[in-house]
């Protein structure tokens, strides 16, 4: 008798629990509506007890002792059912909430990763329209007077542009590759600015294979050239030096400037912010780009940690 009673009650209870779990799976109430769950819990308990009562009373209608026992145990039975059901609801709510949260987390991470990649792409792609149009203008002038040089410059400009497009696929390049690419850019700028611009690149060949993010140096050089060329009317020299310090590739670029008229606070200007941003996105460090203005020389130093 006890076994049948227990079995029926428990079977109904388990059914109710499964029902609740399914329900919560499809419909998770908002936090403010949790008290609804309490009502639901109570209601289901009552239904379970009622059904149990109907079934058991039908089976054991002749057994008066049992009926008395059943009526007496009704409160205990209900409380137990209610508690159990409540526990199940609580656990499912917590479980489903946790699942939803972790799902949201993954989605957020995915979105962040995507936007980070998009941002990196954009930062690499920042080609100055000034550079492009002025280069084309120089070529236009050369075509009439020095066609051979015009051809050479078309070649250089094409190689430079191809480099911008090609390199986005693999993000890291060797110092050697990057400097070759940089040389294309410098050659074009020298045609544009003639004798006003002189450049020097100094580094040891043992550093050839060190790695750095592709197209990182060109915006730094561009910044130095603009800063130098537009801040004085004289001839200027831009120099780049690469060394290895501890486990970092350290690159120093210097350009002249006029301390009286430029505003170093904002004057680090032009492209350096994008370089800083890129290194931050790659290394999560903000101390990899530093600048120094001393007398009339402006120095930009970047550190690239080596794996």
């Amino acid at each position: 008798m006890a076994i049948v009673d227990g079995a029926i009650n428990d079977a109904l209870l388990i059914f109710a629990c499964l029902l609740v779990i399914m329900m919560l799976h499809y419909y998770l109430p908002q936090k403010e509506k949790y008290f609804h769950l309490l009502t639901w819990c109570l209601l289901i308990t009552v239904i379970v007890i009622l059904i149990t009562k109907v079934i058991l009373k039908n089976i054991y209608a002749s057994n008066e002792d049992y009926i008395i026992f059943f009526n007496r145990s009704l409160w205990v039975r209900s409380s137990l059912d209610f508690l159990l059901l409540g526990c199940v609801i609580l656990i499912s709510v917590i479980w489903y909430n946790w699942q939803e949260q972790s799902e949201q987390e993954t989605r957020k991470q995915d979105a962040e990763k995507l936007s980070k990649e998009a941002e990196l792409f954009k930062l690499r792609q920042q080609l100055q329209p000034h550079f492009l149009f002025n280069s084309l203008n120089s070529i236009n002038a050369l075509i009439g007077s020095r066609p051979q040089e015009a051809r050479k410059m078309v070649q250089q400009l094409s190689d430079f542009l191809r480099g911008t497009i090609k390199k986005e696929e693999h993000q890291w390049v060797t110092l050697k590759e990057e400097l070759q690419y940089l040389q294309l850019y410098l050659d074009i700028e020298k045609v544009r600015f003639g004798h006003r611009l002189a450049t020097s690149i100094e580094y040891d060949e043992s550093l050839d294979e060190l790695k750095l993010p592709a197209l990182l140096l060109q915006p730094i050089m561009e910044n130095a050239i603009k800063f130098g060329l537009y801040d004085t009317v004289d001839e200027i020299e831009i120099s780049l030096k690469a060394v290895k310090e501890e486990n970092n590739l350290v690159i120093t670029v210097t350009n002249p400037f006029d301390p009286e008229t430029s505003t170093p606070r904002q004057g680090t200007g032009f492209g350096l912010q994008s370089v800083q941003r890129r290194l931050y996105l790659l290394f999560a460090r903000n101390d990899l780009v530093s600048t120094e203005a001393k007398e009339n020389i402006f120095t930009t130093t970047i550190k690239i940690p080596q794996a």
Binding site: P129, F133, N134, N140, R192, G194, V233, S262, T263
Partner: protein, 248 residues
């Protein structure tokens, strides 16, 4: 009768292509080619050209800043690679503007436009309007360029202590004394960052960074004491403006 032309551009090849195109006009004579605004100012004073072909992005002072320094600017055709912010101003007030690279035909069209307008328009007034428009849209209004005798002075905006109206000019006060700029107070009030510069009085604009205290002065009026010790009048309407921005 031939016309005098001056070409001002910092890139040698950009200058040479213009010289090449001009050779097709027998009546145009290139008086001088300049590689920056400083040379430009001198050459314009010396030759008084009828037309200048002017680049915008140049060392030290840009093409617009150079024009500001010239008292009676001649007709200008702009030649620029990419100055998006100035396009509207060009369209409204410039004789013409050439986007680099440009070809012979396009250049001839610009010269034709200039010839058509030469006699019936006031290029000086047009240029002034253009400069006003540009200074409102320019991405960085970080400095004031002034001609001090034969020297050109570039004053970073944060070095300005205060401005004072002086007839058709504005006195720009810095630690080295004042310099005269041929603009109006209204212009500076529009152009300067309002969280940094406040018009404290009909005739004064103060750099807030420079204020040490504000004292009462006579009846109803106040005076701002600057770090330099200068006393700048604050009017009855200027005082509440200053107070609210300084958060007093």
């Amino acid at each position: 009768m031939s016309s005098k032309v001056i070409i001002i551009d910092d890139e040698p090849l950009a200058r040479s292509i213009v010289i090449e195109y001009i050779q097709n006009f027998p009546d145009l004579v290139v008086s001088q080619v300049c590689s920056n605004g400083y040379e430009g100012v001198k050459a314009i004073q010396q030759y008084k050209p009828d037309l200048i072909i002017l680049d915008i992005q140049m060392p030290k002072i840009n093409g617009f800043e150079m024009l500001e320094l010239i008292e009676n600017p001649p007709a200008v055709i702009f030649a620029t690679a990419f100055d998006e912010y100035a396009i509207k101003a060009f369209e409204a007030h410039a004789i013409d503007y050439l986007l680099k690279p440009f070809n012979q035909d396009r250049f001839e069209k610009a010269i034709k436009k200039w010839r058509e307008q030469k006699n019936n328009s006031n290029s000086e007034k047009q240029t002034k309007q253009l400069l006003d428009d540009v200074s409102l849209t320019a991405p960085q209004n970080q400095r004031i360029v002034i001609k001090d005798g034969s020297k050109i002075k570039i004053i970073p905006i944060q070095d300005v202590h205060y401005l004072e109206a002086a007839d058709d000019f504005v006195k720009v006060f810095t630690k080295e004394g004042y310099f005269l700029k041929n603009k109006t107070m209204g212009h500076f009030e529009q152009v300067l960052d309002p969280s940094q510069f406040v018009r404290s009085h009909r005739s004064y604009i103060i750099n807030l960074q420079q204020i040490t205290r504000i004292d009462p002065y006579e009846k109803d009026n106040h005076v701002a004491i600057l770090r330099s010790g200068a006393k700048v009048p604050v009017s009855r309407t200027g005082y509440p403006k200053l107070k609210s921005i300084l958060g007093l």
